[in-house]
């Protein structure tokens, strides 16, 4: 009995409720003629697609910058890389690598500026991050129209300039990472092994990084800035570093997402992309000040599981698509819960 109570305390009610909800969806699925293998496979693919972007939340939470609502900034760096790579036109794995190589310096520069900005607004990072994300997406809307890309796969056919809203990566590097060592069981069950390996690799890097000298210093800055200052850690530098890291991971994350999804979404596409990532890590048990790799993995699985399962199961049950509404309520409710809870703990 005590064990159960302890487990509930550790996991937190929202996570348990969401876990049970997902579990019940999987149980109901066969009865309403939803293929369980296809659902599991979809969940796995979405898990791999979104994992890196959720991982991008970790450095900033750990260093005390709060939830990274400014993820679109990293996403923009990734989009620039992806678009440029398609312009160059090299298919397969080299194409993805080129996209990442191009987006990396852009993400570092953007992240550096973003970090400097956040250092000047300590205490209201989250609100400002949200609007930095929004305004950078809006700014890039202008840029996508103006930037001199020429590839006929990407620009509007009649004008000959200005990028399209969605660009297919089919024929370039569609599923380039996913298909490394991927396999299918039967017609419906597909495992994107490569994407998992890549995600695991990044998680591993992050895990190791958190245990290096710099990583520990970063955690200290987040959990106890006064102590960090006393031990001679440069707080602002650590925070900037964490923001750069977050932005870079965001850039890589969107490329992984696109190569699996098959499309590059420009213009208002990245506008709300931070919110699913934020709520995923919170569902995984992270708070505004504390996050671990395990939170990322559990959270992404639970959140993406619900996103995959609700449309198919609820649809078959009551013949109405309520998935969008459920998604909005669950994801924002989770963020709301996290925002109100942390303050209550330390009065």
């Amino acid at each position: 009995m005590g064990g159960i109570r302890k487990f509930i305390e550790n996991a937190g009610w929202p996570r348990i409720i969401i876990g049970l909800f997902l579990f019940s969806l999987f149980i109901i699925a066969p009865f309403v003629r939803v293929r369980i293998d296809a659902s599991v496979s979809d969940t796995l693919v979405r898990f791999g697609m979104n994992g890196v972007m959720v991982l991008a939340m970790v450095p900033m939470i750990v260093s005390g910058c709060g939830l990274n609502f400014g993820l679109p900034l990293g996403i923009i760096a990734g989009l620039l890389g992806a678009v440029t790579s398609i312009e160059i036109g090299i298919p397969g794995i080299p194409g993805v690598l080129i996209a990442m190589a191009i987006s990396l310096p852009i993400a570092v520069v953007l992240g550096w500026g973003y970090g400097l900005l956040l250092n000047r607004v300590k205490g209201s990072e989250m609100m400002i991050a949200t609007y930095v994300g929004f305004s950078s997406v809006a700014f890039m809307c202008i840029m996508w129209l103006v930037l001199p890309y020429k590839s006929s796969n990407m620009v509007w056919g009649y004008a000959g300039k200005g990028l399209r809203t969605t660009i297919a990566v089919e024929g370039f590097w569609h599923q380039a990472i996913s298909d490394i060592g991927s396999f299918s069981i039967g017609q419906f069950f597909y495992v994107p092994t490569g994407m998992f390996l890549f995600f695991a690799l990044l998680c591993g890097f992050m895990w190791v990084f958190m245990r290096t000298r710099t990583g520990t210093a970063m955690t200290t800055v987040g959990s106890n800035p006064e102590y960090a200052r006393a031990s001679g850690v440069n707080i602002d530098r650590m925070r900037t570093l964490s923001v750069i890291l977050s932005t870079v991971l965001g850039a890589i994350g969107i490329i992984v997402y696109q190569q699996s999804f098959g499309f590059v979404q420009l213009y208002m596409g990245p506008f709300y992309m931070a919110f699913p990532a934020v709520s995923a890590i919170l569902i995984g048990g992270a708070s505004v000040h504390r996050a671990s790799i395990l939170n990322v993995i559990i959270g992404t699985f639970l959140f993406q599981g619900i996103l995959t399962m609700t449309p198919s199961v609820i649809n078959s049950m009551i013949q109405t698509d309520m998935s969008e509404v459920i998604r909005i309520i669950v994801s924002n409710g989770m963020i709301l819960y996290a925002l109100t809870r942390t303050v209550k703990v330390k009065p």
Partner: protein, 366 residues
Amino acid sequence: MNKKADLLKHYLIQNAVPILFIAVSAFAIPISQFSGTYLVQEMLVRLSRNSFLVLSLLIPIMAGMGLNFGMVLGAMAGQIGLIFMSDWSVVGVPGVILAAIISTPLAIALGWLCGTILNLAKGREMVTSFILGFFMNGVYQLVVLYGFGSVVPMTNPAMVLSRGFGIRNVTNLEGIRKCLDNLMPLNILGIDIPLATFLIIGLFCLFVLWFRGTKLGQDMRAVGQDMKVAGDAGIPVERTRLIAIIISTVLACYGQIIFLQNIGTMNTYNSHEQAGMFAIASLLVGGASVSRASIFNVFLGVVLFHLMFVVSPMAGKYLIGEAQLGEYFRVFVSYGIISLALVLHAWRRQKDRERARRSLRGAAGE
């Protein structure tokens, strides 16, 4: 030594946003080739349409709760009132009043909810109210898209989706279109002035001025200055903050009704989202900050923001030959302006804090 330069810098930073906007408008108006009469008429219409929504933001700022992104909750309440009103086919001014009566208790309840949640998240009210707006948007959709017509009975089948429940994407408000604006028609030099709407707005401005002087208003300002000191002085901090948010939500609800009676149609699932963002951007453009806003800021902001709103697509078209570009520019500016204002405010606050700490250190050193 360089106190004068410092003061000038302070003044410029304080008013950076409106100055920037006046500069951009001065540049863009000639390019857009709009006539003066057209612009004046357009600004008057937009003033009457938007001012009330923007005014509803003032009281939470007074109470130190920042920009109330939770005003969309009020807008939602207003829209639910309008849905019932058009379902019962009540038209004209009685319709508007009926919608206000239906939505008031709803707005009070939502305001109470918002205030309670914000009391749990002191120090990060803005981001919390922002997310709360998103969250309640989900609840609103759940209610209006699935509840109306199934749980809540609807009499007018034209408003309901063909599947039998849920309100259509566009709700027609033809019955109350401009009924308030045309209540007291006034025409000067070919420019229509919606006098009745302005009278309501004027009355509300008087209310704000009066309210500042009341005991409750003073309490709010004290809470806004310093919650702890106010609490020690015997002011019920949480209750005062709650009341500030409730007032703001109810006013936003009326604001949305005024806004939509002017437009004449309602995007059932989008109108409220835009309401929040545009109102906040307008207020900030008018030179308000997160902690300080006046009635003057409201009107200046509405005019400047909407001036740019009207002018920029055309300016973009004539300047670069693409209206789409102006459109995106407009979106960028509305978000950019909010970011800029938020950054300036937070930066200033941090600097003040550092200065205070330094002065403490200096006193200790002497």
